[in-house]
């Protein structure tokens, strides 16, 4: 909804192009489309074949740990992390590259993990929000989210945290406007943007917004 020309390198489009999303967005909804509904009504009597070949072995490097599982090629990085490796900080919300709740870092770049196949992420370092805490030691970004209460239900929050971390890692001197641009691919339903601005201000200026 913001002018797309202003979104910079982290726009939805950028995410999509960078992550082979178009090919990945194949999961089918449970409400049939008009066409498949028609087919069903027609009832041609043939069994719909299972989709895709069987599982393949997959090793992912997640938050510095090597994790192994077996997934079918159609499985997204998000589903591999959540359903097969029990890494659940990345959330599944739209499953279509629109909301940012599934954002993880792949090779240091923010990616919608719902829009990348798990197999594409092989051999690439993956970081999720869980990597931003060690014991009780919080990274500055989640620390700012907690301090300024930039979260309510919190379901969007790990995605925002990872997206913000990506901006600040790429450019530690990023301005507030640049950080905000980096969050344009994320949506918060509870409406915590005002508190996020407090967090952004403190991270960019090392002080509280007045």
């Amino acid at each position: 909804m913001s002018d797309s020309k202003d979104k910079g390198g982290l726009s939805r489009r950028g995410f999509l192009q960078g992550s082979g999303a178009v090919a990945a967005a194949t999961a089918l909804g449970t409400i049939p489309t008009g066409a498949s509904a028609g087919q069903q009504a027609g009832g041609n009597g043939q069994q719909v074949p299972g989709m895709g070949p069987n599982g393949v072995k997959l090793s992912l490097n997640v938050n510095g740990r090597s994790m192994n599982t077996t997934v079918e090629p159609r499985v997204t990085l998000l589903d591999a992390l959540r359903n097969y490796l029990d890494v659940t900080g990345c959330k599944r919300v739209c499953d279509r590259g629109s909301c940012g709740a599934c954002t993880v870092l792949v090779d240091g770049k923010p990616v919608y993990s719902c829009s990348m196949l798990a197999l594409e992420a092989r051999d690439k370092p993956i970081r999720t929000a869980e990597s931003l805490v060690a014991g009780a030691k919080l990274d500055a970004v989640p620390e700012a989210f907690a301090r300024f209460d930039a979260q309510q239900c919190g379901f969007c929050t790990p995605g925002f945290v990872v997206a913000m971390k990506a901006v600040l890692e790429a450019n530690p001197k990023a301005t507030q406007a640049e950080v905000e641009r980096g969050l344009c691919g994320n949506i918060c339903r509870c409406g915590t943007y005002e508190q996020m601005r407090d967090a952004i201000y403190s991270l960019c200026n090392q002080q509280r917004r007045t």
Binding site: A27, P32, R82, C94, D149, C153, F155
Partner: protein, 745 residues
């Protein structure tokens, strides 16, 4: 048992206890629960807006890889009334296989006529019924008129103003979708669910009822939940189905809706539209408000369409209201963050500004003149109640916001200003109930190592309710909130009231206060003898117990608790019962007049910039003044208000469920074409909490989202000088309104 008069923690800005866990993804939501051997379930849904099932053939699904269980929800012969209605559910070893199973199921339908647009149903009053029971699609919603309206309403008024105002059906769009994980024990005697719900004990109860189990054998856990907004009050069909499948498969089952399902069946806010005639004296006293309005509750009966209290907030002597429910082939509308109020506000406050324009008055003056008076009866009997204070509260709020937003400098008559981008300022008022009640039993346990545990089955929807028990208990025991362990979201802790109507904080707060005081007193009673003191000699200071019997000796908290030895000090607290309230008016005044209260007012102002060439509206600045009685956590309170405003800006500018007339299906059941604003779409928001601690705790979840859309609508009108009748105020609608305005001139 009043609130402490000097409050160390209550009312300050306290970080939520689970902030770091949420921000780093460590917090486990129901959607994140993975159990050993857990299956994944999916539901096949009706693709037609209205159809009868002719035949279900699930044979192939049962032979599909990974298939584990199937459950028929609607059998052949059943009529379904909206696209998305549930038919069959399957569980499989992986989500991918569950999808395959669904696609192997064949269903034949007899497609029946449908309506998915209000205007179509209204145009065909004698058309076919497309809703359950063969009852008419359009139903009267209760007409009302003050005495002799037609004779007296317009006597001595300036010419009346007529306008139409409307707002679309929107979706709750909770980011964590509806659903749960269900797990039975080996004998199928006990059921545990991890549910995304606003009502933990009620969800357990509903499941117990459905499976004919004693309620003690169903446990509902909601550690974290990702948004509800009024749409999550029970297990719903998908929750029951998950438990059915888990029972059949003898394995835990996860069933969370996908986004398209979430939008199709996870709740929607009813539409509203109306033609309003409003008139006042030339000095600005509103004399008449006349409205012909309707809203759609979807296929439901209409309970969620609350247009029966028009006109909203203002005191108007002559009122006439015609109100209809338009039932459509859509999911049943659900309560959504202040059910009915945003719509009532849009249909009132926008008309008020149109009247101000026609009278040539500043809208803040018109509002000040037409506020509801303080109710004298309430002033006598219930001096802290909203009716006793409403005129005082609104008047003060209007004064505050007038300064806060520099209204006198920024406001201009509608449509003034040169250039392509026009700036406007708009205002609206709101009210809400809130207030809590029984039962909310709470237990505070002090252990001999000084640790403190608070337990309640209540739930935290994101409002920071988990932190409320810590704040209140810390205040009473002289500790810090982070010293307190809080356990919530577990139905085995006893009953608690569901989180609806902004009642959670006022519901749990006095029970926590009572429990914390009882635990403190139990501690004092247990350790006093060893200190050569009476319990009454002991008191709390920060981090210490003070012993008056021994020169006010200061005993560090942990040392004092250490004297419990093998024991714990336990305090239980809850509301009086409703029967006790009835017997004892003083008790009622204490709990429902000082500890908690009911009823708040709020005033909001929006600034917008409208590009008159593209029709794009940006909300640039926003001011919100909100009363909520005694504030427990100022940080969370301000966040609720700003969040409510943002939800309201979305409502005003972006959100709309769009349905296709021909297929009856929703065209944007997603987050790409169903628009929600991002951080750069939202205004700078200034929140002013109007502190009224003497009123007690009231509840703040709903009020701040009510008047936002109307304030934005009025700001757009102020900017361009013509009314955009239908929200959301999209570029297309803004350009159409501008073109219409040019035609008229």
């Amino acid at each position: 048992m009043p609130w402490p008069t000097t409050r160390r923690v209550i009312g300050t800005k306290v970080q939520r206890l689970d902030g770091p866990d949420k921000a780093t993804g460590r917090a486990r939501y129901s959607f994140d629960i993975n159990l050993p051997g857990m299956l994944h379930a999916r539901i096949l849904r009706c693709p037609h807006a209205h159809a009868r099932i002719k035949n279900i053939d699930s044979g192939a699904a049962e032979k599909t890889n990974g298939f584990r269980a199937l459950h028929i929800i609607a059998n052949a012969g059943v009529q379904l009334f909206f696209a998305g209605a549930e038919i069959v559910a399957v569980a499989a070893d992986t989500e991918e296989h569950a999808d395959d199973c669904l696609h192997a199921i064949r269903i034949d339908y007899e497609v029946l006529p449908h309506f998915v647009k209000e205007a179509d149903a209204l145009r065909a009053p004698d058309g076919p019924s497309t809703v359950p029971g063969g009852t008419p699609n359009v139903r009267p919603g209760g007409d009302f008129s003050t005495a002799k309206f037609d004779d007296v309403a317009y006597e001595g008024t300036a010419p009346r103003v007529e306008g139409t105002y409307g707002v679309a059906i929107i979706s709750h769009q909770c980011l964590e979708s509806h659903g749960l994980v269900a797990q039975w024990d080996n004998d199928l005697a006990n059921l545990t669910v991890y549910a995304s719900t606003q009502a933990v004990p009620l969800t357990a109860q509903a499941l117990a009822q459905n499976f004919k189990l004693p309620v003690t054998r169903v446990k509902c856990i909601t550690n974290y939940m990702g948004g509800g907004f009024g749409s999550k009050f029970g297990p719903d069909i998908q929750g029951i189905v998950a438990a059915e499948l888990a029972r059949k498969a003898r394995a835990p089952v996860k069933l969370m809706l996908d986004r398209a399902e979430e939008v199709a069946v996870g709740g929607q806010r009813p539409s509203a539209a109306g033609t309003v005639r409003i008139a006042g004296t030339k000095e600005g006293d509103i004399r008449a408000y006349e409205v012909d309005c309707y809203g759609s509750p979807g296929v439901g009966g209409g309970a969620t369409v609350n247009l029966g209290f028009l006109p909203y907030v203002y005191s108007v002597p002559n009122i006439k209201r015609r109100h209809r429910f338009v039932r459509l082939n859509l999911q049943t509308g659900r309560a959504m963050r202040a059910p009915g109020h945003p719509q009532n506000c849009l249909l009132t406050d926008q008309a008020v500004d149109d009247l101000a324009a026609s009278l040539g008055l500043n809208p803040i003056i018109l509002r000040t003149r037409n506020l509801p008076q303080n109710d004298q009866n309430a002033v006598q009997n219930d001096p802290t109640s909203f009716p006793a204070l409403r005129h005082t509260i609104y008047t003060r709020q209007l004064e505050i916001i007038r300064k806060l937003c520099s209204w006198d400098d920024r406001w201009h008559p509608p449509g003034r200003g040169d250039g392509v981008i026009k700036t406007g300022l708009g205002m609206a008022l709101h009210t809400w109930g809130g207030g809590g009640g029984p039962p909310n039993p709470t237990r505070v346990t002090v252990s001999s190592d000084g640790s403190v545990l608070v337990q309640s089955s209540t739930q935290d929807l994101g409002t920071a309710c988990r932190t409320v028990p810590a704040i209140i208990t810390a205040d009473i025991l002289g500790l810090r909130p982070q010293d307190i362990t809080v356990q919530i979201g577990d139905s085995t802790f006893g009953p608690s009231t569901p989180s609806g109507g902004s009642t959670t904080c006022p519901g749990i707060s006095p029970a926590i206060l009572k429990a914390a005081e009882a635990a403190r007193d139990a501690l004092f009673a247990a350790i006093a003898p060893g200190l050569n003191a009476q319990a009454a000699d002991l008191s709390i200071d920060t981090g210490h117990v003070i012993n008056r019997a021994n020169n006010n000796a200061r005993i560090p908290w942990r040392n004092a608790c250490g004297r419990l030895g093998m024991n714990t000090a336990i305090g239980n607290g809850d509301w009086p019962t409703n029967a006790q309230f009835q017997q004892n008016p003083d008790l009622r005044r204490e709990w429902r007049g000082r500890l908690t209260n009911n009823g708040v007012g709020g005033v909001q102002v929006a600034e917008v910039k409208v590009d008159t060439e593209t029709g794009v509206v940006r909300c640039t600045r926003f001011w919100a003044v909100q009363d909520c009685g005694l504030i427990i956590n100022k940080l969370a309170c301000e966040s609720q208000v700003a969040g409510g405003v943002i939800m309201g800006v979305n409502y005003a500018l972006f959100e709309e469920c769009i349905y296709d007339r021909v297929t009856g299906r929703m065209l944007n059941p997603d987050m790409e074409f169903y628009k929600l604003g991002g951080i750069r779409d939202m205004p700078d928001i200034m929140v002013h909490m109007m502190d009224m601690p003497e009123r007690g705790v009231i509840g703040i979840g709903e009020p701040p989202t009510i008047s936002t859309a109307a304030a934005v609508g009025n700001a757009v009108f102020n900017a361009i000088g013509v009314r955009v009748p239908q929200a959301p105020f999209t570029p297309e609608r803004v350009l159409a309104a501008l073109a219409n305005g040019r035609k008229r001139n």
